[in-house]
Symmetry: C2
Subunit: 352 residues, 2 copies
């Protein structure tokens, strides 16, 4: 047992504040990691504030973790002390169902174990996440990070925002010769633009903000459409092979499904708090279009994504903060006032 | 020009009644057909009664046509006088777009020409359908029918109800080892059960009517679920590879999407008059499920379906009527009082 320092919320109504707890000792298959950076995801805010059902307190959020291996169990073969590693949204799964067998642990039929707020045998009965100075994770769920040291903070968001956009782009075979839309230019969307561009597709970014036009082009979009502009939208009717819709807020899906070609698919990666207006089924039927969804990504494809990003010099756009500023960062995220991901410099935790 | 006898509606509020008009003379690429049977589709009712936008009057419905070739144009090579043929929902398309090039004329980018109510150079400027004693159709849109003569009436509904279910079953690769749901046991659904069964899938039929349980088993379903029974539904959670949903009436899609396995798809083939309740996006995201749609089918796949049905002795379940009973048949269809398709014996037209 090792004492971890962290920032935790004790109730849905209280801010994040310093909190100490014990991690399990490093077991034979475990990797112990000193956390150097942790990205800040919208899920952290929803969970900490109890906006989704079922938050267990105390809650230590954080599932975009980069760190250094400090200890490995006797059966660990893929990692050694000193390795730079990542941990994403999952720290375990049943490893027996069809989804786990296919490397799609995110669809584990028994439910994967989330990096925080997941059920575990460890005290206090639920997992505690990355806003802490160290973590112990079973080898299978630890990722190798090969980016240069100077980029490690900006690698952290790849572990959630990166894989959440990579997995659907790869599953629906986005590549050269295709026209791909990315809806929303936030934490997820900005990664979607970078990844779809690097995969060789023609990328059109959709935003409601005229002010994000230049940014989206800088991120790698070939074209930017302000979705409130009907004429701009109409010019793209029935022209997309694939649209990755990263906007969780309730919105009119038909505005985008009608931009798909025959047999095109729009993949949603956010669950709206209030339902979207009911989609027009005719827009699907008359061109055999598809609405689908995708959840984070499996461990094997997360490694594939990290390796791809290292090779293509891709990282997230980040704003680094000391952990003492996390509550303000939450408020700014809710206002979409971040380009595009906060990352906590975990060295700041030692100075609390 | 040849005079055709038919039954037509002159306004949205008047019943079908005898009507004479002229068809174009048989051109070099045309096939002239004496119609022996014509199925009665729900689309006929909606169009005749002006329940969809844009009905042009006079309207002669009918797009499930079986007949005999009486004349062929000089350039026609695939048909000769005396051949038994079929005509479905389309009589023309642009023949130049990507969809037409792929044999998917139903998704023609310029819009296919419907067998009735479609735009045409022929008088009166819109196509007039199969509730008539003959029709002239360009060779490309004429299908070969090889079923035995005694089955021809029951072949007619294959031209719409058959292909509308065949096309998605084939597109989503339904076959042996798969568990497939068919929602709704009506004109479309009863064909869906027969075809999915013949394709080798395990077929589960969903109905709201306890009374249709035995019928669905007789049609080829391996199991029948009364969808109002929550426990029956729950037993099938996350177990289907594919669900073909033939119900156009507004209903709760989540009841069926949650029955899909990871990566499963539900295909809708009816546009609801009133929107379905907005589907639960979480049910898609958490198992990468898909909601999609499909429209009738292309000419090549219609021929494939007809040939498959002839080989497997598949026809529609029908109730034959003389054309003089068509208005009553419409009222009965609206009440779902037909097992499972009315087919007009066109010989009755001569006795009007």
């Amino acid at each position: 047992m090792i004492t971890s320092l962290s920032y935790a919320v004790q109730t849905a109504k209280t801010p994040l504040a310093p909190f100490s707890f014990s991690r399990r000792a490093t077991g034979p298959r475990d990797v112990a990691i000193v956390i150097t950076y942790c990205g800040v995801c919208h899920s952290d805010v929803h969970t900490a504030r109890g906006e989704w059902q079922g938050t267990k307190y105390p809650c230590v959020p954080g599932h975009e973790i980069v760190g250094t291996v400090t200890e490995v169990g006797s059966e660990v073969s893929r990692f050694k002390v000193g390795d730079t590693v990542g941990v994403g949204c999952m720290v375990d799964s049943c490893q027996q169902c069809a989804s786990c067998a296919e490397g799609l642990e995110q669809y584990c039929q028994k439910g994967f174990t989330g990096t925080y707020n997941g059920k575990t045998a460890d005290a206090p009965g639920h997992t505690l996440g990355g806003y802490s100075n160290h973590i112990v994770v079973t080898e299978k769920f630890v990722l190798k990070v090969t980016h240069p040291a100077a980029q490690l903070a900006a690698v952290a968001p790849l572990l959630c925002a990166g894989i959440t956009t990579w997995s659907p782009l790869k599953h629906w075979k986005v590549g050269p010769g295709q026209k791909v839309g990315i809806v929303g230019i936030g934490g997820l969307g900005h990664m979607g633009i970078k990844l779809a561009h690097a995969l060789g597709a023609r990328v059109v970014a959709f935003t409601t903000s005229e002010g994000k036009r230049k940014d989206a082009l800088d991120l790698g979009a070939d074209e930017v459409v302000v979705s409130k502009n009907r004429d701009e939208m109409k010019a793209h009717t029935a022209s997309f092979d694939f649209i990755l819709n990263t906007v969780a807020a309730s919105h009119n899906l038909d505005a985008f499904t009608t931009l798909l070609k025959r047999d095109g698919a729009m993949c949603l990666c956010g669950v709206p708090e209030h339902p979207h207006p009911s989609p027009n089924i005719g827009a699907l039927i008359f061109q055999r279009r598809t609405i689908t969804g995708s959840l984070i990504g499996g461990i094997a494809e997360t490694q594939e994504m990290l390796d791809f990003c290292a090779k293509h010099h891709i990282v997230s756009e980040i704003e680094m903060i000391p952990i003492q500023e996390i509550n303000e960062a939450y408020d700014r995220m809710v206002r979409s006032d971040v380009k595009y991901r906060f990352v906590i410099d975990m060295a700041s935790l030692r100075t609390s």
